[in-house]
């Protein structure tokens, strides 16, 4: 596409004047019926004639080389078809939006758990057995660094290290200061559907059913990994069983399936075992964050410092942007950032839901709670006092920002004024307390194309966007229905196929805004065509319930599209992205109970109030927010990757040892939205929402623990052992 719309200037709020009334409503997911009946097909559920099964084989040294890898030990096993380990095997999944092959290290091993080969057999049971019995000899390096705290290879990330004014001086002069170190452990996405790919070749063309988030990029990554032209690769992912970052980039199983299928000349399906997903899919780095805050007597910030250390494998570009939100949340003219990257041999790190804010705001919002305490100011009031007029570093205006409204409305709805003094409320053996934290997540616009076809039967929306549970099917259907004056039942949305126009992909919370805008623009073109046919000015055109009205004319829509009207449109970021600081905002409120003896924490109530521009579907948006808040509970209380101190490899490599929140950990969460339109973000005035609600959520929980019992947890997660240690330090 050459005529993509560039977001250089604010657009009229057309969706506020269309008459269908479907946008923003609580419409049920159109894909819901398939999902509740088990009829929605995920990647591993496609099959093909003569399909063989592949199982990945991992490295069991942390750094070194494969010395001997051949099929001698398994060749005679029943059903064995082949062992593949050529130079195409991926070291790890591609980073989000890479658009090219990740590192393909050949025989080199960079971490324990790296995929080094795939074993293929007639059945899954045969392939699994053979993969487990395959004898591989490795040469292990004598020394290997696996701990970011003790690593010698520490890089200063210059791009992320900067200062404004003089923080040291500000700290020295301030009336109130906070200088605290927060640590967060590694996390994983743990999407419920393990990574799976079915590869089939036909005359040099590859078709891959996969479980991926960003097909436009994944197609290039897969093609580049295999050394084929991208035009020869097609990826299909109509349903994706959760992503959360783990399926942003092409992974080892896809390339392995494609290579094996090509060599064997038959379809091959490779599904990762849950343990393999832990081993070789990108994790969220652990962080160590030093937060410094300097404030005057009234709690107004004069300085903010956010320094962090993260980890990553050598040769891997991604670095968790821990301080993202710290740059734009609060004022204070003296500011300092410094980022260190420890180059170590653990499973490499990448994007996990809200990279940056998810862990960075645990530190920042914890430190703000500490500042409120030392200043003797209510934590809500402290935040309100420190909301800057313009970006404190660039001076840019905010495109829209309802942080204050979120804090105020949340405080009122939650009953914040009844918050007890720290450690003062007890029910039986439980201390009760409340905590607050702000939420924020950067907003962006990513190139996206879409096609909309209007015919007498209704409309069809087509784009290669994925629905990873986010509600893409719902909101794209709603946008088209709203624009074309059709009931939602007359709109069919087709997603997850790289033969369709290339979308933004689902990631970075930009899927709905970016690809939704492309659908909006395509539908807008159709509206212009309809106005022309009706003989009216497009501004006077009304489309509702299948009837077109304009001027003094009224016609059934179907009469205007006897010949289907097909329009394609695209969008790219423009000037407004540079001119404005764009982010979504919100506020979290949590009430917790802390067991006085065991230190167990239960979240009893949680409220989130969010402002993210136009809300396209209240139901799916609320679900996204609830999901993020539950992740916040998880990061606050239980989620923690454990790495063996000698090998670095993940010990908590299944869902029994890596705890994600269960139903019993979660209260009936309350979510509210503040009405907002963001004219600078995109033509549909929406903003990022998918990752907004995890950002800060865990801090509200841990701040509530402090309010409940006086124990300040700075090393996440707040497991019973840490709470108990804190209680004992207080003599409790």
């Amino acid at each position: 596409m050459n005529d993509r719309f560039k977001m250089d200037e604010a657009q009229p709020r057309l969706l506020d004047s269309t008459g269908q009334g479907i946008i923003g409503t609580e419409m049920d997911r159109p894909d819901g019926r398939l999902k509740v009946c088990g009829a929605a097909p995920y990647a591993a559920e496609f099959a093909a004639d003569r399909m063989a099964h592949g199982v990945l084989v991992r490295a069991t040294v942390s750094k070194g080389r494969v010395l001997a890898l051949n099929d001698e030990s398994i060749r005679e096993m029943p059903g064995f078809l082949g062992l593949f380990h050529d130079g195409t095997m991926l070291r790890n999944s591609a980073q989000g939006m890479a658009g090219e092959a990740p590192v393909q290290p050949g025989l080199r091993v960079d971490y324990h758990g790296q995929s080094v080969a795939v074993v293929v057999a007639e059945t899954f049971e045969q392939a699994r057995d053979a993969a487990q019995q395959l004898a591989v000899r490795f040469e292990a390096a004598e020394e290997v660094e696996v701990d970011p705290e003790t690593a010698e290879a520490i890089e200063l990330d210059e791009d992320s290290s900067e200062q404004f004014g003089d923080l040291e001086a500000a700290m020295a002069e301030a009336v109130h200061t906070v200088d605290s170190v927060y640590t967060t452990p590694g996390h994983v996405s743990a999407a419920m559907e393990p990574h799976a790919s079915l590869a089939e070749w036909h005359e040099g063309n590859l078709s891959l059913h996969g479980s991926y988030q960003m097909l436009r990029f994944n197609k290039k990554e897969l093609a580049d990994s295999l050394g084929v032209d991208a035009d020869r690769v097609r990826i299909l992912a109509p349903f994706v069983g959760g992503g959360f970052g783990s399926k942003l980039g092409i992974g080892a199983e896809a390339v392995a399936a494609a290579v094996a299928a090509r060599e064997l000349d038959r379809p091959v399906r490779v599904v990762m075992a849950r343990q393999q997903v832990f081993d070789c899919v990108l994790r969220r780095t652990e962080t160590r964050q030093r937060l410094r805050l300097a404030a005057d007597e009234d709690g107004r910030l004069s300085g903010v410092g956010h320094e962090d250390r993260i980890s990553q494998l050598p040769e891997e570009s991604f670095g968790e942007p821990t301080a993202t939100a710290t740059h734009f949340m609060y004022g204070g003219k003296n500011r300092l950032y410094r980022k260190e990257i420890a180059r170590i041999h653990r499973t490499p790190s990448g994007s996990v839901r809200a990279p940056g804010e998810a862990v960075g705001m645990l530190g920042l919002e914890g430190a703000m709670d500490e500042l409120a305490e030392v200043c003797g100011i209510d934590p809500v009031e402290l935040r309100l006092r420190n909301i800057p007029d313009t970006h404190p570093e660039t001076g840019k205006p905010y495109s829209s920002r309802s942080l204050a409204e979120c804090l105020k409305q949340g405080a009122s709805q939650f009953g914040w004024e009844n918050r007890p003094a720290a450690g003062s409320r007890r029910e039986g053996q439980w201390y009760i307390g409340c905590g607050v934290a702000s939420a924020a997540r950067s907003n962006s616009l990513v190139r996206a194309d879409a096609r909309v076809t209007l015919s007498a039967d209704g409309a069809i929306v087509e784009t290669d966007l994925t629905d990873i549970g986010t509600g893409s099917y719902a909101i794209l259907t709603q946008i088209a229905a709203e624009m074309l004056g059709l009931p939602a039942s007359k709109v069919t949305t087709r997603l997850g196929d790289t033969d369709l126009p290339g979308a933004s992909g689902s990631g970075g919370s930009f899927g709905a805004g970016s690809t939704g805008s492309a659908v909006f623009l395509a539908a807008k073109k159709i509206r212009a065509r309809l106005a022309e046919k009706l003989g009216c000015d497009v501004d006077s055109l009304t489309l509702k319930d299948g009837v077109a009205r304009g001027g003094n004319v009224e016609k059934p829509l179907r009469d205007l599209c006897v010949e289907p009207i097909c329009e394609e449109a695209g969008i790219t970021a423009g000037k407004l992205g540079d001119d404005y600081e764009q982010a979504s905002f919100g506020a979290h409120f949590a009430e917790v109970a802390v067991h006085a003896d065991s230190g167990e924490v239960r979240v009893r109530r949680m409220l989130g109030v969010f402002a993210a521009g136009r809300i396209l579907n209240v139901k799916t948006a609320r679900s996204q927010c609830i999901g993020g808040m539950v992740w916040g509970i998880g990061s606050a209380l239980m989620e923690e990757l454990g790495h063996d101190p000698r090998t670095g490899h993940i010990i908590t490599r299944d869902l029994a040892n890596y705890h994600i929140a269960s139903n019993a950990d979660v209260p009936l969460i309350d979510v509210h939205f503040i009405e907002e339109r963001d004219d600078q973000s995109n033509p549909i005035q929406s903003k990022a929402i998918g990752e907004l609600s995890i950002s800060g959520a865990g801090a509200a929980v841990v701040n509530a623990i402090y309010n409940a019992c006086g124990v300040r947890i700075r090393a996440f997660p707040a497991t019973p052992d840490k709470v108990v240690a804190g209680l004992e330090a207080l003599g409790l």
């Binding site: 699994r128 019995q133 053996q429 065991s598 101190p645 040892n657 004992e728």
Partner: protein, 341 residues
């Protein structure tokens, strides 16, 4: 999972006959198949005893209650007699695993489940339990879920069961049929071995022994039963520490106390000295603290599990307060009433 020969036994006699070399009995299979998929266990033969009749009943006997080995964890916890007369057992079972697993897991199998030590589960890491003599990598590793009592320099794995902890407090006895079909009784205090130098040998049972039933003693009217489990998430997680307590009182004093512990021992842990210290005494913090000291005197900790001494101590004292009426009862604390209606 390695290939194996699968056979179904329709009687115990058939099961005994079918038990060949490297054979495993499969009942619920919830742990066995879990381990076979990882090739941590590689039996050459599976003998399915699910169709053996007579092992799914709970019957009243002269001395108490007899529970067939194939009674599912769910059925056991739901049985009205267990709920009213042995609440600590119902509570322990309900605190374990999930509804789905409890429906499949059996009483006999629960006793014999293997440790959840992640180093035992990961075939790329050395483990003396999996491969005797290879070394224990949990020592010096991520040891959060390991034991602090009854461990050795060769193994620090914890026994993962909740049910067996309650059974230990209840002084349950197992019916074990040997290769000839003779049935002997094995007490909970005799069932498990300490790891010592051979952590791969976990019980005193012979390879061809089959657990057929469990006996619970007569109910103790007036006893207070408590099962308290502390874990990293609110449900569906193994214990960091769990405490089963059965306490009877005479006037202001503790008459008898039976305490057993999960999550901290190489086997469902009980120390009779602790019970004896409490018996006959007036309940109070100094007594409880002294009992906790006794329990933990031989604790051997790692950096990653050192917190368990503190957590065990606090949880134990908390449980004792409720069991002796010093604190009001919370959910998990039940009293055995005089007569089952």
């Amino acid at each position: 999972m390695r290939s194996f020969d699968y056979r179904r036994a329709d009687s115990l006699a058939a099961a005994r006959e079918g038990l060949g070399e490297a054979a495993q009995i499969i009942a619920g299979g919830t742990n066995l198949l879990d381990l076979m998929k990882l090739q941590v266990m590689t039996p050459k033969q599976l003998l399915d005893i699910n169709r053996v009749p007579g092992l799914r009943e709970i019957t009243e006997t002269e001395n108490g209650l007899k529970i067939g080995a194939l009674v599912s964890n769910s059925d056991l916890a739901a049985d009205p007699r267990i709920r009213s007369d042995y609440p600590v057992l119902a509570r322990a079972i309900l605190a374990g695993a999930s509804g789905q697993i409890r429906n499949k897991a059996t009483t006999g199998g629960n006793f014999l489940q293997r440790t959840r030590c992640p180093y035992f589960y990961d075939t790329s890491m050395a483990c003396n339990k999996r491969q005797p003599g290879s070394s224990c990598t949990a020592i010096g590793g991520i040891s959060r879920m390991t034991a602090i009592l009854g461990v050795s320099e060769h193994c620090i794995a914890a026994h993962p069961s909740d049910m067996a902890v309650a059974m230990r407090a209840l002084d349950a006895r197992l019916d074990v049929a040997d290769a000839t079909g003779d049935v002997r009784q094995v007490g909970m205090d005799e069932l498990y071995c300490l790891p010592g130098e051979r952590p791969d040998i976990e019980t005193t049972l012979a390879p061809d022994d089959i657990i057929t039933a469990v006996h619970l003693p007569q109910k103790q009217s007036g006893a207070v039963h408590v099962y308290r489990k502390v874990r990293d998430r609110a449900s569906y997680a193994f214990a960091l520490v769990s405490v089963a307590a059965i306490v009877t009182r005479r006037e202001q004093r503790i008459a008898t106390a039976a305490l057993a512990f999960g999550g901290i021992g190489s086997r469902p842990w009980r120390n009779s000295e602790v019970d004896e210290m409490l018996a006959g005494e007036v309940p109070g913090e100094p007594l409880f603290a002294a009992a906790a000291d006794r329990l933990l005197a031989e604790a051997r900790t790692e950096e990653g599990n050192a917190f368990k001494t503190r957590l065990t101590r606090r949880t134990m004292i908390s449980v004792l307060r409720e069991a002796t009426g010093l604190e009001p009862a919370s959910v998990g604390t039940d009293r055995v009433e005089e007569s089952a209606a």
